[in-house]
């Protein structure tokens, strides 16, 4: 049985990753999950300098999902390289995808340049879709021209293949996917969270200090499947599919829709072993369906 998938020349032992921001750099979850068994560890967004993030409350539960407005709190690229990348050295079987965030093109480039010489970094995921920071982030991800330009710029600096992470908070995500492809992206990942809001009816005020937050969890999964399907039929670069994946069925569904690999996000919060549970379920499915190569199911539902 082959579970290996290849994206932009990088080979992953299986298509299961975790979604940026839900898993730190793996440290906290290494108590529950052998990181060496994952296709990749996708790190939380890293900026050029430490970011404090948003005020609390940053978390709200909604039906079959949650809202978050963390605001990309992170220690900055220096600490990340010295501590997190060093920690990840011991898990050679898993690829390392570093999620990169910034307020401006210059800030993205600074991080990309700093990571250029880091051999442990296999790919970069460029976050142009965070709904919780006011400048940068999603501002780059909602205008096709901006998507193409930032992709081009990052691609010109990056020493590792780049994945552009797209926002679902757009009228037509295919347009953004095509813009990323035109800019030279090696792959795209989608979906980031959907902007939502929750109001406390007793207090008659917002639950989140940031008022709005990114919605994730099983409730968004059908939207993610639809968008992955649309993009898979619009571009020729590989897609990493994510959005509410919590079971092996969700992961298989995403691959049938056209994703080459999948990321598990919110599910980690309520099932710390979700990634490996999904991998094991996917393998059982392959046996039962007599699928020798996982690549054979990618995008076969047309």
């Amino acid at each position: 049985m082959n579970t290996k998938v290849t994206i932009a020349g990088v080979e992953f032992q299986n298509p299961i990753m975790e979604a940026s921001g839900t898993f730190g750099s793996g440290m906290e979850y290494s108590e529950f999950v052998d990181l060496n068994k994952l296709g990749a560890v996708v790190t939380k967004g890293v900026a050029n300098v430490p970011w404090p993030g948003n005020p609390t409350p940053r978390i709200a539960e909604v039906s079959s999902g949650m809202l978050n407005a963390i605001g990309l709190q992170n220690p900055g690229v220096e600490v990340f390289c010295e501590r997190d990348l060093k920690f990840l050295e011991q898990f050679k079987d898993a690829r390392v995808v570093v999620n990169v965030c910034g307020h401006s093109a210059e800030e993205y480039i600074e991080v990309v340049d700093r990571l250029a010489g880091e051999s442990r970094v296999d790919m970069l995921e460029i976050n142009i879709s965070c709904p919780n920071v006011k400048e940068g982030g999603i501002a780059f991800g909602q205008d096709p021209k901006a998507v193409e330009e930032i992709t081009k710029l990052v691609k010109a600096h990056a020493k590792q293949p780049i994945i552009m992470k797209l926002s679902p908070n757009v009228t037509d995500i295919k347009v953004m996917a095509k813009a990323a492809e035109a800019g030279g992206a090696d792959a795209i990942s989608l979906i980031n969270t959907l902007t939502g809001m929750k109001i406390d009816v007793e207090r008659q005020s917002f639950v989140l200090a940031n008022k709005t937050g990114g919605m994730s969890g099983p409730a968004v999964h059908p939207i993610a499947v639809r968008m992955v399907y649309e993009c898979a039929n619009a571009v020729n670069i590989p897609i990493i599919g994510m959005g509410g994946i919590s079971t092996w069925q969700d992961a298989v569904e995403m691959m049938l829709a056209g994703a080459t690999a999948v990321s598990v996000g919110t599910a980690n919060f309520y099932n710390p072993t979700a990634t490996l549970d999904i991998l094991s379920g996917m393998k059982d499915y392959m046996v039962r369906k007599k699928i020798d190569d996982i690549n054979d199911i990618i995008g076969i539902v047309k």
């Binding site: 430490p50 993030g53 978390i59 919060f269 309520y270 710390p272």
Partner: protein
């Protein structure tokens, strides 16, 4: 060591209006210390996130944990319906817990901050004074504190029992002295206790609360402002679930 498993419900009791006590058989008991918490998961699949609830009592021999919690929403309302023999998913123990220090200590609890102080009072050596604050005479755990503490001082908001006012009013009225003060309760209360301790040069630990998602320090959802740079992000945001919930009062902005 953290475990995630189905715990067996041994007992459910209503202690006061909206306040319940749940005794669980779980291997998490083996590793738990006072001031830590467990995440309890809803059996309703549409409620994804666990509810972080402080540990009230630990019995390592019996392998049981007792949690005392207030019903504040649908999740905790569901927990209050659990009965002996039911199973419920838990993860824990989580967080750092209270360090056991001092020969003369004061443990202070306000409202639903009362429960975690019980196991602490049991495990502290030396003389423990318990100061517990309630809204009114609908109190809980007072018998237990009477058993384990050298002295129990009660404060109620409406004055129906003990000191009329807050736990800080009660501490001032009794001019309490200590090597260490431990506190859990709403933020304004923690601020008052921390000020009391600072004025008298007493070391003070506070247990903080924040909305959480992962419970293990990965998502950065539950941070509180810290006076020094935190180890994780170096931005003066400590993680309540992992770096806390217990902090030195001088370590956090209250």
């Amino acid at each position: 060591m953290k475990v995630k498993e189905k715990a067996q419900v041994l007992e459910q009791m209503k202690l006061a209006d909206g306040v319940y006590s749940l005794k669980l058989k779980t291997t998490a008991a083996e590793y738990a210390i006072p001031g830590q918490f467990i995440s309890i998961y809803s059996n309703n699949g549409s409620k994804l996130l666990p509810r972080p609830i402080s540990i009230c009592e630990i019995d390592k021999n019996a392998g049981t944990l007792r949690v005392v919690y207030r019903v504040v929403g649908e999740g905790t309302a569901e927990f209050s319906q659990l009965t002996a023999g039911d199973e419920v998913e838990v993860m824990g123990p989580l967080g750092n817990g209270f360090p056991l220090e001092g020969e003369k200590t004061v443990v202070v609890g306000g409202g639903i901050g009362v429960p975690p102080m019980l196991e602490l009072a049991k495990q502290l050596s030396g003389s423990v004074t318990a100061v517990m604050g309630y809204r009114n005479d609908d109190m809980f755990l007072t018998e237990e504190f009477t058993d384990v503490a050298a002295e129990l001082i009660i404060a109620t908001d409406d004055g129906s029992v003990g000191v009329h006012g807050t736990v800080v009013d009660a501490m001032k009225e009794n001019d309490l002295d200590a090597d260490v003060i431990y506190a859990c309760g709403p933020k304004p209360m923690l601020r008052g206790v921390a000020e009391y301790a600072a004025e008298r040069g007493i070391k003070c630990y506070v247990s903080m609360e924040e909305r959480m998602a992962c419970g293990v320090g990965a998502c950065l959802g539950c941070v509180c402002q810290s006076t020094e740079k935190d180890d994780h992000s170096h931005v003066n945001n400590k993680r309540v679930c992992k770096d806390g919930p217990v902090f030195l009062s001088t370590e956090v902005v209250l």
